[in-house]
Symmetry: C2
Subunit: 544 residues, 2 copies
Amino acid sequence: MKVGLAQINPTIGAFDENIAMMVGCAGRAREAGCDLVVFPEFALCGYPPQDLLERKDFIENSLSASRRLVSSVSGVAMLFGCLTPARYGKPLHNSAILCEDGRVLGEVHKRLLPSYDIFDETRYFKPGDISEPVLFRDIPLGITICEDMWSGTDLMPLHYYSCNPVADLAGKGARVFINLSCSPFDVGKMDVRRDIVRKNAVTCQSPFLYVNSVGGQDSLIFDGGSFVMTARGEIIAHAADFEEDFIAVDLDSMKGDIHTVTGSREEAVVKALEMGLIDYTRRCGISRVTLGLSGGVDSSVTAVLASRALGAENVLGVIMPSPYTSGASVEDAELLAANIGIRTITLPIYDIFKVYLDVLEPVFSGRKPDVAEENIQARIRGNLLMAISNKLGHMVLSTGNKSEFAVGYCTLYGDMSGGYALISDLPKMMVYDVARYLNSLEETIPERVLTRAPSAELRPDQSDQDDLPPYEVLDPILELYLEKNFSFDQIVGRGFQPDVVSTIIKMVDRSEYKRRQAPIGPRVTAKAFGIGRRYPIAHGYRRS
Amino acid sequence: MKVGLAQINPTIGAFDENIAMMVGCAGRAREAGCDLVVFPEFALCGYPPQDLLERKDFIENSLSASRRLVSSVSGVAMLFGCLTPARYGKPLHNSAILCEDGRVLGEVHKRLLPSYDIFDETRYFKPGDISEPVLFRDIPLGITICEDMWSGTDLMPLHYYSCNPVADLAGKGARVFINLSCSPFDVGKMDVRRDIVRKNAVTCQSPFLYVNSVGGQDSLIFDGGSFVMTARGEIIAHAADFEEDFIAVDLDSMKGDIHTVTGSREEAVVKALEMGLIDYTRRCGISRVTLGLSGGVDSSVTAVLASRALGAENVLGVIMPSPYTSGASVEDAELLAANIGIRTITLPIYDIFKVYLDVLEPVFSGRKPDVAEENIQARIRGNLLMAISNKLGHMVLSTGNKSEFAVGYCTLYGDMSGGYALISDLPKMMVYDVARYLNSLEETIPERVLTRAPSAELRPDQSDQDDLPPYEVLDPILELYLEKNFSFDQIVGRGFQPDVVSTIIKMVDRSEYKRRQAPIGPRVTAKAFGIGRRYPIAHGYRRS
């Protein structure tokens, strides 16, 4: 039996477009002599449709699209993810349909519905209550959907879900396993998936086909990287990651296509961010972006990524010097723009700032300068960028990093302004790593940007390190607090100074209201701000 | 048996404070001769703690607080909501503990975990799998938690949850029913709750005690209104709504305290918004607010509510005339401020606007004026308000209504700026209703504000109705689309013009990115924007 793995990038709710794409893949599989072509989880609807699933018209359109797809393909069987109705409880199943020549051969319902981090599947779906192999070409297929294969692993121990669909299928004689996934990327996730599939394949002594979705959907990045593993845990077929791909595997000869996958962490992050930006702008009907260039590492990395993703001709850099902007900053911004070939415009903010101070004189008079004056400058820049956005139809890219968002070292309606915060899930140290990686491909970011002490330049001789601990200390503490949910005591137990830890925790907790108003941005770590991290703004829990 | 219903307003994670409050109520119950005092769902932790429930230290602190509370009270039994550990599946239960004189008499786990709208309970909790009466003073008590009593009703038909804890308890001989709730307010919700309890009480032929939480938590308003119903569905005890309260009921004589509850829809909305603002500011450590006064109905209503809630001395109105601001608008803003006794400051934006246009000349030159120039003005106002906020430590109240947020008729980082959007869940027509209700209490909003055509005044002779359908048409369409999930065809079927409906749906869908960056605000309708409505920004679903 020969199977095609169609790693596609469907758009949520674009049923006609998704069907056309899937019919195209089916044709390709047929031409390649495949008996079966497998699509990812929710391939037909796109994932995650979120509350569109509460709209009857969306459900009806989706069900009718399933029927159309089933009847549109002949000469090759298809296994694809879609929604199906449930009879009681939540009204829908997250399902996989196996069909051939217009007939449905089998229907499988996802049993393990993730409900944590970015996942809300129990909000919409009723879990399947049983796993049965589906017979195809006399082979009992063990079909599961995404989370179904994660039970009984270190990450998701058996007691969490109290059942293991893959083990159930093995017990009922399944001989070839197929998992349809829509599994979001984070750094290191691909290794985790391979380990999970290896454990399942070896335990069940059967080949395992893993078909993942690809593409950027709002803040989620699906990285693809579909693969086939033997019963001994060897990979015999592998799709590319971060792009649409099609691979075939012959399960008799156990040979398949091997396409190149990403090597380093930095390369993966760069591909994730670029794909996220491309898909978000495309699906929102945006072709050009504008961003502020400060001469710092954050805006430099954002500009390089944007010009690589969208083309230098579609990126406008805006240099907005304030009274406190150093000459070096402007020089570096201009040099960077020249290196990557984007247009720039320089809009000094001194004059506007001065009039604000005049107008605010009745309020500010007699009070000493503080963060208010700094934020006015940041918000003038936000207003200028948004004015360009409104006038030219560009989207503003905001340039803040995760460390800043975490401790609130950023100005709401100022540098936080924008439609997409491209590096908002990159801790500052990772921004530097990505900058050096980008420079290793092509030397575009001026060396001085990577070596100068970072500064917001909103007051004379300001440096980030006047207001924050060094990033070498800040980032590890943030990772322990945000990603590992460590307590104050546990973090201090790792050797960090209690007063520093206490200050950082308070800063994180106090800036929840800012993050709630932040633009979305692509998720690349295991715990990003946004839909996957839900904290009350007002609460009385004090930890340190 | 005499029972006290302690309708309290706990703060999330403020365990010491919550314990002190609960011990106080227990003392009051003991003095009133009660055998038992009942607290709401999650009284000890506050609700909803959201992802704080993923922190081990939060769980440990909460469990130790339960033990402290149990051992702190004698002479009266307590029934209170708290978390308890679960042995497999999700690690926690949403529980009720019955205790007396330091001993735990019973523990009940919530079985029906809401996972829709603003609720995420399957994210955190394992459902209880059985309902058993708990014996107290020889009476089998049927104890349920919030959603547990909703099964088998029109709103939540039996097939949705496939079980009915109240019916199970009745079948096992429960004779007095108690429900601990943390049920969020929306307009009309109190009637729904009374109907649900009546159905349960009459079906089970037993008295039913309903104890609800009270207070504002971020965007959620818990309205209290705890009550006791006889087996015939008559209310024999009732707490006040929108405030902390304590009532007692004697289940032998079937007599209890009856406190006054809110009459009209507008009165309830006003109380909800005021409580939401008071609790949000208090818990965030804010005592003063600033808002822009435009002379329109939205900012007028917001100012009146804020001055009622926080005291006129804690509200600063900022009048920011633009070149297009009419004299009438400034007069009305000043008159309103004088009527409610708040301080004002006038900061004209002409000069700043002019310098922006000068600076942006290289970009704007040769292009005709459009929304870009309008938004610059709105964002100057946002910047001025935030500058005052930063300098004086005030929180900015944003003044946009739900109709504007729905169709995106508002400026991101402009009039959308603020920490709390007080009337953001009020459709424009409801804003007028609330304005008239407020004027019926005390004539503060100038009559002209209620009769002039609404305008953003961002270009010459602008009126909302140039850009939008009349609110009499817009608001009902929005309600059908947003609250009822009606399709385009269904809305048109209600007699609205197809082109108008189509335009409005497109506007709603296109402004998802703006709403994602909006400040939170109190929820008063059954479907508010924010955490209870989760839509993708980028998608391809086109309905009309």
